[in-house]
């Protein structure tokens, strides 16, 4: 009997137990269970946006916090992000259909001259995990490519990554070019990468340096909220 007790049937759980269970399943990177949970909530009449925010994003926030606090490491976070992405796959078309509010959009890329991408990929995955739309430009991204993507994608955030001390200065080239063109203030510019620090972020004129993917997500949420407030006030 005890074994049967352990075998939870998700569809038998009331909403207020299913949602925390989904948070746990996300935390444990259980892809199929997360997808099943999303399906159940939708079938119970939840709006896609509510499923996204209360079940998925809230669950990923716990993952992000534990990553930030050094309790989880990259492998666990990647598994959780993969599970989140599966759930998102189901929600994405529905969110568009229902005209749900957007969390925000980010264009991200590793700067020109730099071919490292694990950290950048991780940020992209965590940002998607937090419900952001992410356009990944890949590695070795020249200033022209950033500019083109900013124009076509109209994101809220520009994210740049570098893992080499020799490529970090390229971030300043991109920011200076934005400033020259009078575009700098149109975007929130976040930078990250192992050899960077806050001082560097300030020196090159970024809005913030993000120590890791979890910090990137928190910072992005914070800045996007401020930006929206500004728009509302203006």
């Amino acid at each position: 009997m005890a074994e049967e007790d352990d075998d939870l049937i998700l569809s038998d759980l009331p909403d207020d137990e299913l949602v925390p269970q989904m948070h746990d399943d996300l935390y444990d990177g259980l892809k199929e269970e997360v997808v099943e949970g999303v399906e159940i909530l939708l079938s119970r009449g939840w709006t896609p946006y509510r499923v996204l925010t209360e079940a998925l994003v809230a669950g990923m926030t716990v993952v992000g916090n534990d990553f930030r606090d050094g309790i989880l490491f990259v492998p666990e976070v990647l598994l959780a992000a993969n599970a989140m992405k599966s759930g998102m796959g189901l929600l994405k078309p529905l969110l568009v259909e229902t005209g749900a509010p957007r969390m925000g959009k980010m264009v991200i890329g590793t700067v020109k001259g730099d071919i490292h991408d694990i950290g950048k990929n991780l940020v992209a995955m965590m940002m998607e995990g937090a419900g952001f739309e992410v356009v990944d430009l890949g590695i070795n991204t020249a200033v022209e490519a950033y500019l083109a993507a900013l124009e076509t994608e109209q994101p809220d955030i520009l994210g740049m990554s570098a893992l080499l001390t020799t490529t970090m200065p390229y971030m300043k080239i991109v920011i200076d070019t934005l400033t020259e063109k009078g575009l700098r203030d149109d975007y929130i510019v976040l930078v990250g990468g192992a050899p960077l620090n806050e001082e560097f972020g300030r020196a090159i004129g970024a809005d913030a340096y993000c120590r890791d993917a979890a910090v990137a997500v928190e910072t992005a949420k914070d800045f996007v909220a401020r930006k929206h407030n500004q728009v509302a006030a203006g």
Binding site: L8, D66, V74, T165, P169
Partner: protein, 337 residues
């Protein structure tokens, strides 16, 4: 014990490795974005100058310019078909100089990470990783490398795959990981777990350790972690010359030659046998490190406070292995069967 590194380890109680490759090549005019490995063929004199910098500064071991010379990385430069050639030439250039040096030198064939995330989190399979490393290992072997030098790894499976590749190539090897995330590697490996991993491998490395990461202090804390795990295997310490700082449009590492000299002696006191630098470490630093290792006496194993006092503070409060790190209880619901 037929390989050059084993012979040297048997007769000496410390060895000095080299410093940075990237930093020094960029100082010679490599522009970012270029694959440094292409210079083995296109600018061999500059690669010779790189090696000579380390040799003339007193290194016993120097690494070949082949860090990113695996198919996975070279693909980004559309040079994935040149793995064998670029690695062979990297080693040949080193072999030439080592044989002419008039003293014992170890040509270490550098092997960096694939840059891919391995299954199940990512898409790179273990078998594919072994194949990627094996191809590179054969090139380095062909060019006359004495030992394979696997470095900056963060995932246990990637470390294992490199070990298996070394075995397939019939080469002795050493392996170091980069502990850059609050005392652990990006993939969560602690100093203690690397010691355990190394001893479980069928083809064990001649030495193992840490490279790169976050500054000299953190690296020594990791070395103390290896030593505390009770390993008998020689430990490698290859730390960065301080922390990168942005000054007037340029990046420069804040570690002075004096600081790196202190670091070298402290690394030996911490239990390291093979001591070198990583990013930011120029021949000037190496000269100071060599002089310090030769002239300063060994001391007692330093405490974390002494390391912090002499080399600067740590990037995180703990090294990720302490008992205080057990995760706080998260109320868990029943797991599904």
């Amino acid at each position: 014990m037929t390989d050059a590194l084993s012979r040297m380890l048997a007769t000496r109680d410390w060895l000095m490795a080299d410093g940075a490759t990237g930093t020094n090549l960029f100082n010679m005019g490599l522009s970012s974005g270029e694959a440094p490995e292409l210079w083995n063929v296109d600018q061999p004199d500059k690669i010779r100058a790189l090696y000579r910098g380390a040799i003339d500064a007193g290194s016993d071991i120097f690494l070949t310019n082949s860090f990113g010379g695996n198919a996975s990385r070279l693909k980004l430069h559309d040079a994935q078909g040149r793995v064998r050639e670029l690695n062979r030439v990297a080693a040949e250039l080193g072999r030439e100089l080592a044989d002419a040096a008039g003293r014992d030198l170890v040509v270490a064939g550098s092997i960096g990470p694939t840059g891919e995330i391995m299954e199940p989190m990512g898409v790179l399979s273990y078998a594919a990783a072994v194949e990627i490393f094996h191809e590179q290992a054969e090139g380095l072997k062909e060019g006359g490398a004495d030992v394979l030098w696997v470095e900056t790894i963060s995932a246990p499976d990637e470390f294992k795959a490199a070990a298996e590749a070394a075995s397939l190539a019939g080469m002795p090897w050493v392996g170091t990981m980069s502990f850059d995330t609050a005392g652990r590697t990006m993939m969560g490996v602690t100093a203690t777990s690397l010691v355990e991993l190394v001893e479980k491998l069928p083809h064990k490395p001649l030495a193992f350790g840490a490279n790169c990461g976050v500054g000299a202090s953190d690296l020594l804390r990791t070395v103390l972690g290896f030593a505390a795990a009770g390993t008998e295997r020689p430990i490698i310490a290859k730390g960065n010359a301080g922390i990168p700082k942005y000054v007037d449009g340029h990046i420069h590492y804040d570690g002075t030659p004096e600081l790196m000299a202190d670091y070298a002696v402290l690394a030996r006191d911490c239990g390291a046998t093979i001591i070198g630098g990583c990013c930011g470490t120029t021949p000037e630093h190496l000269v100071a490190m060599r002089a310090a290792l030769e002239t300063r006496p060994r001391g007692a194993r330093p405490s974390l406070d002494e390391i912090a006092e002499r080399l600067g503070g740590f990037s995180s409060a703990s090294d990720g292995t302490g008992e205080g790190d057990t995760p706080p209880d998260r109320p868990r619901r029943r797991r599904r069967g």
